[in-house]
């Protein structure tokens, strides 16, 4: 069975849970920007949680089915239609051969996940089907979908139509969005007033935000503790001797615009990092539109670990809800 792409949307790509294990070689972890939404979509259609699905950002694709199958759409709030008739999101839906899936305007959030029973059956590259567009790796020929593509779909098992993930278990960023941050190794590089202003100020998602990184504007510039730059570091006070960049780390080039590194980020470089967004909040970033007002909240390691445990329980609740 296959899915024909009538309209590709803006940047629709095949994503699974990513390819951890190659970041030290400069290959990003990749995978869905909102992993909870991807897992939920797969569970709804009876797939393994990590099966490959489609991630569409801001604009939904238009797809035609070549055989009867079962699908689910999760993530952002974007009206979905089958043959023009509106259908619920976060729900197992039956579609018939020849039917067309299309979408209305995005209402809130940023990315939808479209799962098909059997999963998207593109070749596995370095352990994953995720598309890393800059590296032309994985996914459908290493690129976002284009009109006329025929996407191969695997053979699915039975899935009960009509199941849905309850509203209370769906996660979208608030307004303002709040991202919890654990200060990092380079915290001492900024002055006390900047250690405070970063968390006190209001920020907004910049339009450049994408799968590599989310850039923010609007807060006061950071001022750095004076020092003689060490050998190997660039001359700007925001430069450091090159270091590893963790997933979720926040670099602030020139001290002006924080950038949170996300799934397709570079793995290292010479910008200081103020800290790291906790793992429990990374999925929320995937649902943030440009101009979303955002605040950063300072947390301790204990709070971060508790948030991670809460997040694991939320996933368990999703699993039970669609079982």
């Amino acid at each position: 069975m296959a899915v024909k792409v009538i309209k590709p949307g803006l940047a629709t790509s095949v994503q699974d849970l990513g390819r951890p294990g190659y970041f030290h070689l400069g290959i990003p972890i990749g995978g869905a920007m909102d992993r909870l939404a991807l897992r939920a979509a797969n569970l709804l259609v009876g797939n393994d949680e990590g099966a490959a699905a489609l991630e569409a950002v801001f604009v939904g694709p238009e797809l035609e089915f070549t055989a009867d199958t079962v699908i689910a759409v999760t993530g952002a709030d974007m009206p979905l239609k089958i043959d023009g008739e509106e259908q619920p999101g976060w729900t197992t839906l039956a579609v018939k051969r020849g039917q067309v899936l299309s979408f209305g305007f995005l209402k809130s959030g940023a990315r939808i996940y479209i799962a098909f029973a059997g999963g998207v059956d593109v070749p596995v590259a370095l352990g994953s089907r995720s598309t890393y567009v800059i590296g032309a790796l994985g996914g459908f020929n290493g690129r976002p979908l284009a009109a006329g593509d025929e996407l191969p779909i695997g053979n699915g098992g039975p899935a009960r139509v009509g199941r849905s993930v309850p509203q209370a278990l769906r996660r979208t960023p608030g307004r303002p969005a709040e991202l919890r941050v654990l200060p990092g190794l380079y915290w001492h590089r900024i002055r006390e007033e900047s250690q405070a202003s970063f968390f006190d100020d209001g920020w907004k998602v910049a339009p450049e935000a994408d799968r590599m990184g989310y850039r923010f504007r609007g807060g006061r510039p950071l001022s750095f503790v004076e020092r003689e730059q060490p050998f190997g570091a660039g001359s700007d006070p925001s430069n450091i001797v090159d270091s590893c960049y963790p997933y979720g780390s926040i670099q602030v080039p020139g001290g002006t615009e924080p950038i949170i590194l996300h799934r397709d980020a570079v793995s290292g470089g010479g910008y200081f990092m103020i800290g790291t967004v906790i793992s429990a909040d990374m999925d929320l970033i995937g649902q943030m539109q440009p101009n979303t007002p955002t605040g950063f909240v300072k947390v301790t390691m204990d709070e971060a670990l508790k948030a991670r445990a809460d997040r694991a329980r939320l996933l368990d609740d999703v699993r039970s809800a669609v079982d």
Binding site: P207, Q289, P290, N291
Partner: protein, 80 residues
């Protein structure tokens, strides 16, 4: 007179000109043909053209140059 709304398909920044030094694609009151570019939306480091879906005798913009827009926001009204 019928009025058609042209909506932004994307969230981002709306521009009425191709470059800072170019004239606007359309001025208020200009006639438009379906398929004419009326502006650009900047998002994710790229620019996407917004095209008029209908022809009309006069266009009126309701969003300013460089304003932030959400998907579905009305950018302009076109009078038939």
């Amino acid at each position: 007179m019928s009025k058609q709304e042209t909506r932004s398909p994307l969230p981002g920044i709306f521009y009425r000109k191709a470059t800072p030094d170019s004239p606007p694609y359309k001025n208020d009151g200009d006639a438009v043909a379906a398929g004419d570019t009326i502006g650009l939306i900047e998002v994710m480091k790229s620019f996407h053209e917004v095209k008029a879906e209908v022809s009309g005798s006069a266009i009126r913009f309701v969003v300013d140059n460089e304003d932030a827009v959400m998907a579905g926001d009305v950018l302009a009204e076109i009078e038939g």
